[in-house]
Structure formats: C-alpha cells, structure tokens
Symmetry: C2
Subunit: 128 residues, 2 copies
DNA sequence: AGAACTGTACTATGCGTATAATACAGATAG
DNA sequence: CTATCTGTATTATACGCATAGTACAGTTCT
C-alpha cells in the first residue's frame, strides 16, 4: 500500500497537484512500483482531512496520465511503464530543482555557496 | 528602476505572490536597495500582460509588510530596513531551498548526487 | 445472497485569483 | 493652470480549488 504518511500540504499550491507530485516522487525514487495499491479515496480523504472529491481529482488525473488504473470495488493500482517513470524523473528534476537554482541565482548565491547551503540543509532535516 | 524583465509566471502559483517574491529576491541579493523606484502599476501591468488589479494586489501587500511606500503621483519606492532584509533572506532560503531538499530526498537522491545535480544545473542555465 | 467495501457521478456553495471597466485624488512636468 | 502622469477604490464577471452531501454501480468477502 502506497504511503501518504509524510504528506503535508504547502501554502498556495493546490492539494490535488501535491498529491499527484507525491506519487510521482515515489515513482522516481523507486519506492512506488508497478502493481502497488493506492489507498481508497474515502480512506485517504479521511487520513489527510481533505474532501473525497479532492482525492478523486488527483486520482483521475493520474489515471488520465496512465500512471494508475482504477476499478470499482477493486481499488486503484500503479500501472506505469519504465519509459513513463524515466520521463517523470526528468520532469521532476527539471521543474523542482531548476526553479530553485534560478531562485538561488536571483538571490545572489554563487555556485559553491549554494552547494554549501544544500549540504547543510540536507543534513539538518530528518524526513522523506 | 526595479526590473521585472526576467520575470515569468509559474503554473499553479498566484501571479501576485510571484511578483512579491521577485522583489524580495532582489532585496536578498542586494540588487534592489532602499529608495529604488518600482514601475508604476499601469506600466508594469502592460509589460507583464496582467491586470492592473493584480499588480496593485502585490504592491499593496508589499506596502503592508513595510517594504515599499507609495504616494499618488509620486510612484512607489523601496523602504526596507536592514533587519527586514535579513529576515527576508532567512525566510527565502528556508522556504525556497528547503522544500527542494525535501523533494530531492523523496526522489531518492543521496546528498552527493544532489550536490552534483545542483552544480550541473547551476552551470547550464543562463538567466537570473 | 447480503454486507461492506470499492470507484464514479452529480449538484450546490464558498473562497481566492484574475480579469474588465470605471472613477476619483494627489503629484509633477509642460 | 493644464495635461498627464501617479496611486487608490469600486463593482462586476469568470474560473479554479475545495468543500458538503447524495446517489449509483461494480467487486470482494463472509
């Protein structure tokens, strides 16, 4: 069962998009694999304290992208080709990291300053 | 005059918040300083092809935070104390970078892999 | 078969974002 | 002084996100 335990919403970003990204990050990391089952809409909406329709919106879009497959009564499961996973990996690196690189540049950080900051933050945090 | 030339909107994030962040990043970098003038609401809205009310919303919030000051007929100017600038610097580092660190961890990147990726992206891009 | 789960669909409401159009007041350059 | 810039305020509309509630259909387990 795919875990949403360390999922926490970020101010200003739609929840359903963050849920999609959460699954994609799992795929990119390899911790989410083909055949894995996702929590039911009702269970997950109760766990995260969001509306069932919000979960449904995320799941529907994941299904439209061909990353999951749902059947009434049988739940939802991961159905992602290795090509799709590789594409997601590239996509996430690009959007997630490259924007931050641009931001750090705008904030005047030199490359080695940015590297130092990254190392420090990488050690500090204990999650994910 | 504060520049918005390399400003580009990002899908899913409110424009007015991005404009605020743009100014704050300039303050953090030191490229935006006390007394600097911001473009007029009308000019900037035309330049960025957004509604004047959207620019006004960003400027109003910047004024409420005490970072700028506006006078009818005289335009808007930066009025930020060094304490405010330092606080913004801390804030931006935390939100902007730390989220990406968490994301990279979720994607299964080890620290040195992340450092390598950062170095590569830092060289690639030519903006900011 | 029946209970209890599952996915799916629909209507309605509230809120924030962004747009459009208009109007008025203060400052400045001619 | 007058024109033209500036900021400020208001009303209205449209769309997306999230919520609430309800209903129906398919699967699974006992």
């Amino acid at each position: 069962m795919i875990s949403f335990e360390n999922f926490h919403s970020v101010e200003g970003v739609p929840i359903y998009l963050q849920m999609i990204r959460h699954v994609k990050q799992g795929l990119a990391a390899g911790t989410v694999q083909n055949g894995d089952e996702l929590p039911s809409r009702r269970i997950l909406s109760a766990t995260l304290a969001v509306n069932p329709n919000t979960v449904q919106k995320a799941y529907r879009q994941l299904e439209e992208e061909g990353l999951i497959q749902s059947r009434p009564g049988a739940g939802s499961h991961i159905t992602a080709s290795s090509e799709q996973v590789e594409h997601i990996r590239q996509e996430l690196f690009h959007t997630e990291v490259q924007e931050t690189v641009a931001a750090m540049k705008r904030m005047g950080l030199k490359k080695e300053e940015a590297v130092e900051l990254l190392r420090r933050l990488y050690d500090e945090e204990e999650e994910g």
